[in-house]
Subunit: 406 residues, 2 copies
């Protein structure tokens, strides 16, 4: 069977007209003789409305009942989509997680899909039916409704694609795909036609909010091609696939930037094993997300300087934690707001020398000072002054030939 999984996000099913449109999209695949499995989120706004109700009932609303409550949203969306397909003359029906069933492990509000019992669904597909499955949820071993913590309906769609050996998983959303950089920040940003899982992971974790990293990672591990596209127009989206499927790799696929970062430097830290752990453990305990970490080589073998970045909203909390941390010794604490991280990402840079040099030269030409550097196999990140972000973005986007020529 030529199976395709189509996942529709909340904005794609946000109104009755949009649900009708979704039914049209589905029927286009059916006309092409695909077997289609649909996964839907709740209509946009519904989940938040339900969560607000739960908060009014109790500030510490039961996790198990939270799952029962919010899972009703997908149920409504799926019945409406199925109803519309039936109206159009197709064989379709909604499938709730307990009907498939989709078995999850882990605690309420934060489960993950462990197993999908395929037999009933496969029979239904063979009989010419189009199942509309509730995303974002499953049932536990105790037969109770659970919701998926990270990745939500995207994660559902990708795991379903894996279990049913789908040819492709199409994520329909309200953006047209993945761009070389945030189109809101740079109008020359260009839609990426094809991107590797690894690049997408770097893009996603750096703030390209198209999909959550956990879902991309699931797709990567299971070798499922993902297509991200808009449900509001027919333009082609972005294909996320394995590297070997990508011909004509660009050296750099995309550039991401952060804003609202702060830099923390500890001068004269005693250079001995375990010191970094002593610094970062209490930060982690307080849910402070540490990003770039750079430690300079110790000049005298006894002391070193340690720099890391955090979100600016965590700055005061971080300062307090470090100053009250009696297990570390340092001479001076320097805090600096208003820094930005610019990253160039691309699997092509593995085989292409000189990307680092070109990046630094481009910034130098614009007289932009690099404060911290951090690199991985497919990514180079630099920390610069926030005021220089736009200038850097424009220059690098042009240097690596990403500009949209409209």
């Amino acid at each position: 069977m030529k199976i395709v999984v189509l996942k529709f996000g909340g904005t794609s099913v946000g109104t009755i007209d949009k649900i009708k449109n979704v039914a049209n999209i589905i029927s286009n695949y059916l006309k092409k003789k695909y077997k289609v499995i649909v996964v839907s989120s709740a209509m946009s706004g519904v989940t938040n409305e339900l969560i607000n109700k739960s908060k009014k009932i109790s500030e510490s609303f039961s996790d198990a009942e939270y799952d029962v409550l919010v899972s009703s949203g997908e149920q409504v969306a799926c019945s409406l989509i199925a109803g519309r397909l039936i109206h159009k003359g197709y064989k379709s029906r909604s499938w709730m997680s307990w009907q498939v069933p989709i078995i999850t492990k882990g605690p309420h509000k934060n489960s993950r899909i462990d197993l999908i019992n395929k037999s009933k669904m496969l029979k239904y597909l063979k009989d010419g039916g189009t199942p509309i499955i509730t995303g974002f949820q499953g049932i536990s071993d105790e037969n109770r409704v659970t919701t998926i913590g990270r990745g939500g309906s995207d994660a559902s769609a990708i795991i379903i694609a894996k279990f049913f050996k789908a040819q492709r998983c199409v994520i329909y959303t309200d953006v047209e795909g993945v761009f070389t950089t945030d189109p809101n920040k740079l109008n020359k940003a260009k839609k990426i036609k094809v991107i590797s899982y690894e690049e997408m992971l770097e893009m996603a974790s750096l703030g390209a909010k198209v999909m959550q990293p956990v879902s991309i990672q699931d797709a990567r591990l299971n070798r499922i091609d993902i297509e991200v596209k808009s449900s509001f127009n027919k333009k082609p989206g972005t294909l996320i696939t394995k590297r070997s499927n990508i011909i004509n790799n660009k050296i750099v696929t995309g550039i991401s930037s952060t804003h609202n970062d702060s830099k923390v430097t500890l001068i004269g830290v005693r250079d001995k094993p375990g010191v970094a752990a002593s610094i970062f453990k209490p930060l982690s305990k307080n849910s402070i997300n540490v990003d770039m970490v750079v430690q300079n080589i110790s000049a005298n073998g006894k002391e070193t300087d340690l720099t890391f970045t955090i979100k600016t909203e965590d700055l005061n909390k971080t300062k307090k934690i470090i100053e009250s941390n009696r297990s570390i010794k340092f001479r001076k604490l320097i805090l600096k707001k208003n820094v930005s991280k610019i990253s160039v990402i691309g699997v092509g840079m593995i085989t292409t020398p000189g990307v680092t040099f070109r990046m630094f030269q481009t910034l130098a030409n614009k007289k932009i000072n690099i404060q911290v550097i951090s690199t991985s196999e497919i990514k180079i990140s630099v920390l610069i002054d926030k005021r220089d972000t736009k200038k850097a973005l424009i220059a690098l986007h042009k240097e690596f030939k990403l500009d949209n020529k409209k």
Copy 2:
């Protein structure tokens, strides 16, 4: 176990504050050491909102998907009630029909509960839990969600009370109980403390909209005491029970009246077997509800006069159907709008002669003309001019000593 089933209607769970109030009502029973099974409707307005969505998707929206759609309403209400009880420190959880499970027979949108698997629920009750069950729904043999056609959540509650051998089923609603007559029509109407199933059936089918006849009949067949009361105050409600539980029966328990009726008379109908069926079959097929039917004794053995009442809104349709009905012969068709049916109801009249006389005399004293008479074991109904309804109601209510002495 001392089990009580508490059923809350849509208005009783219509807002967050009302749900909190419902949790308080439940906890009062728990404090009295009852094992409580709760059955809830959807928050008022929600079901209609969902139905409107389905109509916008398709004018002939799939029955099976309709059931999936609207059943989400009870799911939301139940999770919120359970969440509030947990917040208050009780062991509670929502149970959806598929979790119990509650098995139904019959078509979608119009199923009836066939079987309840009690084992899991009994264990939960014994472990000190308070289950909050979604009313109005179940699952079919095919593991699909169904909804109950007639009686809705009331029917669910009564069948659950039957299966769990509950001591009582309390129907919480937005009225204080059953009254001797409609309090909106007569301010001297008095709340009835106790009423037999049979009387309640006559009251219900005559327009006392507290409960649907099908649910009362279920309770009667299974000998389940029902208490109808308001969730908005602590006043005692009305107990619906078997006759033998009622001491000091009043002769007349209540008086009901209809409005908006019309009278149809066929003069000179050929008096032969099957003629009534020929008249009523096409009316029934067209969903026209025929109420009182009176056939006079044939004067000459060949012809008879037949009178029946219908809702005035069906009058034109009825006229057309009868006039185009070639299988019946009659000399004249007389249609009369603006008639009212007044019924006095009471099991006491079985053993008390003279109720009929007292009723007719009371109306005669007020110069109210009786157009048609129809009686049953516990009910006497008369058809009068609509203009006389209020006058008749006042006089009869006083005659049978039902007036509230406030």
